[in-house]
């Protein structure tokens, strides 16, 4: 069974009198435990596509099924719960919560979104800290760790709720080359370990080289 099935998906933005067709009828599927990349220049629609899969932005038309649920017309209230239960996010700027420690950042979705019991949360966070190579650093604040470490924590946070789909918007854009490769390797390792699909939007060749499936976007349409 496919994790994501998009059929004739479109997204049109209206800005004043101008209509901008960001996505122009795309079809694609994403299988479980895959490593997928949406590639294209700025403004090609890759972030829009990622936002639609992540139920952050509803499609204008077409059909979108994520983890077996039709999310084409999902309400904003239901979408928050759906994201919390099924989707993990990794951001370009890491977006860790600055007042929470590394441990608490990873714990956040389990506690504030999924209400896991304390002991199970502790076990899960410690497992993930080890998995992303951040063991012993749980008590540090985001301001006390490097950019690469922050993105490791962000990967751990995205994986914490056992989501089967992780969406990463330009995850290596703010990292140096060596760190970027380490993060990509980490994500692949996590994919293998937890059978989680990683879907990126990127124009970074490093990520593209490592992606197993690449969808190239231009003016809101796939070119490959």
């Amino acid at each position: 069974m496919s994790l994501v099935v998009a059929t004739n998906l479109t997204k049109t933005y209206v800005s004043g009198d101008i209509e901008v067709k960001a996505i122009r009828g795309v079809d694609f599927t994403i299988k479980p435990a895959s490593f997928v990349s949406f590639v294209g220049p700025s403004g090609s629609g890759k972030s829009t596509l990622l936002n639609m899969i992540g139920c952050l932005d509803p499609p204008t038309s077409g059909s979108l099924v994520v983890t077996g649920q039709d999310v084409t017309h999902i309400s904003s209230k239901d979408s928050a719960k759906f994201r919390g239960d099924h989707i993990g996010f990794i951001f370009q700027d890491f977006n860790l919560i600055p007042v929470l420690t590394v441990f608490e950042n990873i714990e956040y979705p389990l506690q504030m979104v999924q209400n896991w019991p304390a002991e199970q949360r502790r076990q899960r966070v410690e497992e993930l800290l080890t998995a992303v190579g951040m063991e012993g650093q749980g008590n540090k604040l985001p301001s006390q760790i490097s950019g690469g470490q922050k993105q490791r924590v962000a990967v751990a946070r995205a994986l914490s709720s056992k989501a089967k789909l992780i969406l990463a918007d330009e995850p290596t854009a703010n990292l140096d080359r060596v760190t970027a490769f380490k993060i990509i390797d980490l994500m692949k390792k996590m994919r293998d370990e937890f059978s989680t699909s990683f879907v990126f939007s990127t124009h970074d060749p490093k990520v593209v080289e490592n992606a197993e499936i690449v969808y190239t976007l231009e003016d809101g349409q796939f070119t490959n």
Partner: protein, 414 residues
């Protein structure tokens, strides 16, 4: 919820300077209000105590219409012996009444054998009067306080004593006209000089009831007013209502009420000052609410604006709008709680210091009054709840905005 409180507290610590400034503003407001309430309450309580305990009593009963004619001190509107019997029966039955004192009030000429002036007099039973207005003895500036008055003695108000140049032990003559128009004179010895206080009866002289009856050639046991002392000031309204209801049952031949009962508030002009103090307290509370509302709203609007990206992140990873709303409301609540806690602590400490240092002040002709500010737990709780409630209310709009932010717009915000 615990996690929301933890996050909210850390967010406040994150912007420490702003948090401290806002809390300081709330603290200042709380301290101002609580100190004003305690000091003005102390002043009010002191003045009410002075008026009720040294002059008026808590309640007074007169014959209907007497109070509106009190400036003339009419003797033809006294309560008769038969009427007094009915009233005392009612008063004796009421357990909330600690004591009562019967008075004849009348005007006379006061002569020191060289000069003559007008004087207003209260004729009293010293024992009952001291039970009803226990601070009367303290008003004796010069002379023997014990027992208040012996037969043939007079307590002369300070201003008349000065004007007429009389001192303790001097002999004076009182000349009075009775209700039949007959004039009589009687010598008295000055027992003491009485301090004047503001309000009705504050510049009256005192003689014994029996002496007044002789002077006025009263054959019946007539009384102008009955002053009543209650077991506590909190009994004022219930006892007033009971007496008013009971006494309204006594009607004359024309089916009109015979008696009237009044609280000290109705009789003393100080009650209007007390009401002004209450009004000022109310407006100061409104100012406090405005200060808290504006400062909290300002801070929370800034907090939301500065954390738009963070709000987008937590919304994207599945935090429900209600939890985001709760997070910002909790920040406002904690800010209010912090400012209020410090404010209440400073206020209580200041009140304790004022009581230890015994600040004295003068009010009108009364000098050396000691300020003893106190504050009721109810006032502290009410002010605290108002401030914290307003702090949460002030956070509501920014919190609502944060919780309804579009995650994509929020994540794009730089």
């Amino acid at each position: 919820m615990l996690n929301i409180i933890k996050m909210a507290a850390r967010n406040l610590r994150r912007y420490l300077r702003r948090t401290l400034l806002t809390s300081a503003l709330i603290t200042l407001g709380v301290v101002s209000v609580l100190l004003f309430i305690s000091v003005s309450g102390s002043f009010k309580g002191m003045m009410v105590g002075q008026i009720t305990d040294s002059m008026l009593g808590h309640l007074q009963i007169h014959r209907k219409g007497y109070l509106s004619s009190i400036d003339n001190l009419p003797l033809n509107m006294n309560l008769s012996g038969k009427q007094l019997g009915k009233i005392t029966e009612i008063l004796d039955r009421n357990e909330a009444i600690e004591a009562y004192s019967m008075r004849i009030k009348f005007g006379a000429m006061f002569s020191n054998y060289n000069e003559t002036t007008n004087i207003r007099l209260n004729a009293i039973d010293p024992e009952q009067e001291l039970k009803t207005v226990p601070l009367l003895g303290d008003r004796i500036l010069d002379g023997e306080k014990e027992g208040l008055l012996n037969p043939g003695e007079i307590l002369v108000p300070e201003l008349i004593a000065k004007g007429m140049k009389v001192t303790i032990g001097d002999s004076i003559v009182l000349v009075a006209t009775n209700k039949d128009g007959s004039v009589n004179g009687q010598p008295f010895t000055v027992r003491g000089i009485l301090e004047s206080i503001s309000g009705p009866g504050g510049r009256d002289g005192y003689i014994r009831l029996a002496d007044a009856r002789t002077l006025l050639r009263m054959e019946e046991q007539e009384i102008s007013e009955i002053a009543i002392r209650l077991t506590g000031l909190d009994q004022l309204v219930p006892v007033f209502k009971q007496l008013e209801t009971t006494l309204s049952g006594f009607k004359n031949k024309m089916d009109k009420p015979v008696f009237e009962v009044h609280t000290w508030e109705k009789i003393s002009p100080f009650f209007n000052i007390a009401r002004m103090i209450d009004l000022m307290t109310f407006f100061i509370k409104i100012m406090l609410v405005a200060i808290v509302l504006v400062s909290i709203m300002n801070v929370m609007i800034m907090a939301v604006y500065e954390r738009i990206n963070e709000i987008g992140t937590i919304a994207a990873i599945g935090t429900s709008p209600s939890k985001i709303l709760a997070l910002f409301l909790t920040e406002g609540f904690l800010l209010g709680l912090l400012g209020t806690s410090i404010g209440v602590s400073i206020s209580l400490a200041s009140i304790a210091i004022m009581n230890i240092t015994q600040i004295s002040f003068d009010f009108g002709r009364q000098t050396g009054l000691i300020l003893t500010p106190t504050i009721a737990a109810g006032d502290v709780i009410a002010v605290s709840l108002i401030v914290i409630g307003i702090a949460v209310l002030g956070s509501l709009q920014p919190a609502w905005k944060a919780s309804h932010m579009d995650p994509i717009d929020a994540l794009r915000h730089v």
